[in-house]
Amino acid sequence: MGRPTSSFADFLASYSPDLLPGRVPSVSPGADSQALRDLPHATTIVAVACHHGVVLAGDRRATAGSMIAKRDVEKVFRSDEFSAIGYAGTGSVGIEFVRLFQVELEHYEKMEGRPLSLEGKANRLAWMIRGNLAAAMQGLIVVPLFVGYDEDAGQGRIFSYDVAGGPYQEQRFHCIGSGSVFARGALKKLYSDDMPVGEAVLAGVQALYDAADDDSATGGPDLPRRIFPVIATVMADGFRKLPEAESEQYAQQVVQERMSAPDGPLAPLHVAS
């Protein structure tokens, strides 16, 4: 009955390893893993640090090869009261990771009577992603983006990962997924230190718009179907997912502006001295 660890994933690994995400029957080397690569993939996620907090936002598209698999997929989640997680990569494995990570954090908190530190959470996620390395080699790639509020420092923090784990702490902002290069370019020009949370959300939505503009796998705001980015904030008072109406407002604002300036806000050519 007794066990020395308060980790749910550790327990799962000993109790029923089949339940861990990304456990696939090994495919012989050289086998065609195109089928795995053509599974629905989630695409672009952006994280933007702001004044006393952090914003995490993701577009809604999932692609399977060159097809759009789903228009209203959600890939930004609450992981616990003071953190959020988004993922890019194979949808089915990503969902399992998020679920396991949520239980992992809650399990520790209940067992120990206190939550894990933010670094503890980030490290735990790295360990879980590394466990997926074999599956990633066969095409089931999942890369998360983790953000949280650091109570000691009173600020938001961003952690990124690669398929072998991590975590890498990111300063200011970070983007993952197929549209991340475009989103990052946009954020470079839009970001300023210590932005108020509303502006950080707007910068994130602008960046997602630019990603959707140039990356076929990232979906822009879908006005006819009323599908808008999923936006979450993690501040001193905890995780908050913006209600649909609120994220619609941000998306509508960006779309309206782009009607007159399709490439978005213009950054000054010189650094203000």
Binding site: K70, E81, E109, M111
Partner: protein, 273 residues
């Protein structure tokens, strides 16, 4: 017949006697329904070594007896709940399932081990309606009883239960339920009353109105408030007009205890893909 033979009947009686004596040395604990959920309360001078804790979204655990023994059971229960919720769905974790799991384990320990567990536990589940609330009491030998409305267990269970039976009425407010519980726990064996201060009490609620994780500890400030409210109303206050029931956990509780969801729709992860 070999020398020193003890009949099975005698052995069981001895074990039961041993366990009962162990439990009788400790204090009592009460669990009762109120209109907005379930209140759990126990005298406990320690603010770190809990008798009451969270098991799952809508399920709490309270125990009396030997700390190391019920702590083992508490952790096993959390693991059981988390693995069930992870394997199936969060809705599939029930107090009945956990009570049965405890009953199986305690029954086995009682018959097979030389020394039985000196514990008595209660598993309570808050429903969306008061009629759906469940309170189970599990004793050291694995017997389970379904206790509608309220239960007192532990050291002076009979005296405490008698007071509680007198004071309890279905649909009472949190303040009334708290006053009843405090009155019951202040009754000691010889009919004298011991006034309990906030520092000597441990209390928690399962809040019916919350989404996701409903368990909240009632922390110092709110505890003081409830104690003074129940003292000023006096023991006859059961029918007195009810003070507006504020958020049950007081201003400090939300952050300090970080029990989980922020309430509202963001508490649970949205259905992915």
């Amino acid at each position: 017949m070999p020398f020193g033979y003890v009949s099975p009947a005698q052995a069981m009686r001895d074990k039961a006697e041993y366990a009962r004596q162990g439990i009788a040395r400790g204090r009592s604990c009460v669990t009762l329904q109120y209109d907005g959920g379930i209140l759990l309360m126990a005298p406990n001078p320690s603010s770190a070594l809990h008798k009451i804790s969270e098991i799952y979204d809508r399920i709490a655990f309270a125990a009396v007896g030997r700390y190391n023994e019920y702590e083992t059971l508490r952790k096993a229960g959390i693991t059981y709940a988390d693995i069930t919720g992870y394997q199936f769905d969060r809705h599939d974790v029930t107090a009945r399932g956990i009570a049965n799991y405890y009953a199986q384990n305690l029954g086995t320990i009682f018959t097979e081990n030389l020394k039985p567990f000196e514990v008595e536990i209660v598993v309570a589940e808050v429903g969306t309606q008061p009629e759906a609330d469940q309170i189970y009491r599990i004793t050291f030998d694995g017997s389970v009883t379904d206790e509608p409305g309220f239960v007192a267990f532990g050291g002076q269970a009979d005296q405490v239960s008698a007071v509680l039976k007198d004071r309890y009425s279905p649909g009472m407010s949190l303040t009334e339920a708290f006053a009843a519980a405090l009155d019951a726990l202040s009754t000691s064996g010889n009919g004298e009353r011991t006034e309990l201060a906030a520092t000597q009490l441990e209390a928690a609620i399962l809040d019916r109105t919350r989404d996701h994780r409903t368990f909240r500890r009632v922390r110092a400030a709110r505890l003081e408030e409830l104690i003074s409210e129940s003292r000023s109303d006096g023991p006859k206050a059961a029918g007195a007009p009810e003070a507006p029931s504020g958020p049950a956990t007081g201003p400090d509780a939300g952050r300090a205890d970080r029990g989980g969801g922020l309430g509202g729709g963001d508490g649970t992860p949205p259905n992915p893909v």
